[in-house]
């Protein structure tokens, strides 16, 4: 036994234990009011399958347009493959969750190429107009269509300023088990919600990194330590049509 000797006065080991215990208990601001740290909670990887999503997370995507190559289609291809968006060879009606948009400044000739998908707005107009409640925003900011409730009226497609949604005109077969899709409903980018719930990033983000572009950063905008939050804080980024006040979760840098 190595008991405390009178010369030592205090045990540093015990002191460390006590300070750690105090930190874990949270900071008491006033009697009955305790501030708990929330740094560990809120990341998707930490969420158990039985836990619901919470608004402590806001998923967001940052696209660095300078790194997005003209002619590269890796994100679109990955989206089609991941979600089983096999078309019928009719581009007018085939589903499109993400598309590449080419911009050109006519006065200077400068060109820009960027991916455009559902912007996962904080105030989504598609949710406002939906007559059945099928179009909804999940607590973590992902905007989805509950196809069980969708009646295919397509109000949301009219309301969306980004033309992000598609209506399924024809019978769909051989869907992916994690991405159910069917005729008569509206659908759009889900941020690959099935992957996000597993703690992974959307297929487009992964494909962009694999293709060497590394133009897309996905993460939690509410977590100040996430890569996306640090980038958004360090650089000037743009939302598309910020004048509409929708606060999209997708941001663009060097636009």
């Amino acid at each position: 036994m190595t008991g405390r000797t009178p010369q030592q006065g205090f045990d540093p080991q015990r002191r460390r234990f006590l300070s750690a215990a105090a930190a874990a208990a949270g900071v008491t601001l006033a009697p009955g009011v305790t501030l708990y740290g929330v740094t560990a909670a809120g990341s998707a990887a930490a969420r158990a399958p039985e836990d619901p999503v919470t608004s402590s997370v806001r998923w967001g995507l940052l696209v660095d347009v300078n790194k997005c190559r003209d002619g590269c289609n890796a994100c679109v291809t990955a989206c089609v493959e991941e979600n089983g968006l096999r078309g019928n060879g009719r581009p007018e009606t085939d589903a499109q969750w993400i598309r590449k948009v080419e911009l050109r400044d006519p006065s200077t000739g400068a060109k820009r190429s960027l991916p455009l998908m559902c912007q996962h707005c904080a105030s989504p107009p598609c949710v406002d107009v939906c007559p059945t409640g099928a179009s909804f925003k999940r607590a973590d900011g992902i905007v989805l269509v509950d196809k069980h409730i969708c009646i295919g009226c397509r109000y949301c497609m009219l309301a969306c300023p980004y033309k992000a949604r598609s209506f399924i005109h024809e019978v769909v077969e051989d869907q992916k088990p994690y991405a159910p899709r069917g005729k008569g409903t509206v659908e759009s980018c889900t941020f690959c919600v099935h992957r996000v719930d597993e703690g992974r990033t959307p297929a487009c983000v992964e494909a962009c990194a694999e293709a060497g572009g590394d133009a897309m950063t996905f993460g939690d905008l509410n977590d100040p330590n996430s890569r996306i939050s640090k980038q958004v804080a360090a650089y000037v980024t743009d939302q598309i049509r910020p004048d509409l006040g929708l606060d999209p979760g997708v941001r663009y840098r060097n636009l």
Partner: protein, 147 residues
């Protein structure tokens, strides 16, 4: 005329009766119950027969709106266990005639809408996953991680 009708009905029902497995009820045609993987379903057979849609409905709202992805009453898990391997490789759709979902639903004259949108065959990842976590009788393991 009446006798002809009875004969026609008997002729119609004959293949269904022949397809019924372990049917000791004689003339009553019973649905073919294809055995699933593993030793037992996630709940008692009697409970699953009566309440599977209630549970699926509940699970669908939980998963869709709240992001809860437990596997016990997930439709994906039903398909993973109850789809039978096809002789040519891959799996037969659970919605194909005589298969697990369809045979009962045909018998009860209830249409299945699930598979208009949902996959009726296990996917590649799902198949792999089902092999990784074998079920045990009477209980369903709630994995802390979803692959």
């Amino acid at each position: 005329m009446g006798r002809h009708l009875v004969l026609a009905l008997l002729l119609l029902l004959a293949p269904a009766a022949a397809a019924a497995q372990d049917s000791d009820a004689g003339r009553v045609p019973l649905p073919t119950i294809v055995k699933g993987k593993g030793e037992a379903c996630v709940a008692d057979t009697a409970y699953m027969r009566r309440y599977h849609m209630t549970e699926l409905d509940h699970q669908r709202d939980e998963t869709m709106h709240r992001g809860v992805r437990t596997r016990k009453f997930s439709l994906k898990e039903c398909v993973d266990c109850h789809a039978t391997p096809a002789p040519t490789g891959g799996y037969v759709s659970v919605n194909a005639p005589g298969q697990f979902c369809r045979s009962c639903h045909d018998y009860a004259a209830v249409t299945i809408d699930c598979f208009q949108c949902h996959a009726a065959r296990p996917g590649e990842t799902a198949t792999k996953r089902a092999g990784e976590f074998p079920r045990t009788a009477g209980k369903f393991r709630q994995e802390s991680e979803v692959q």
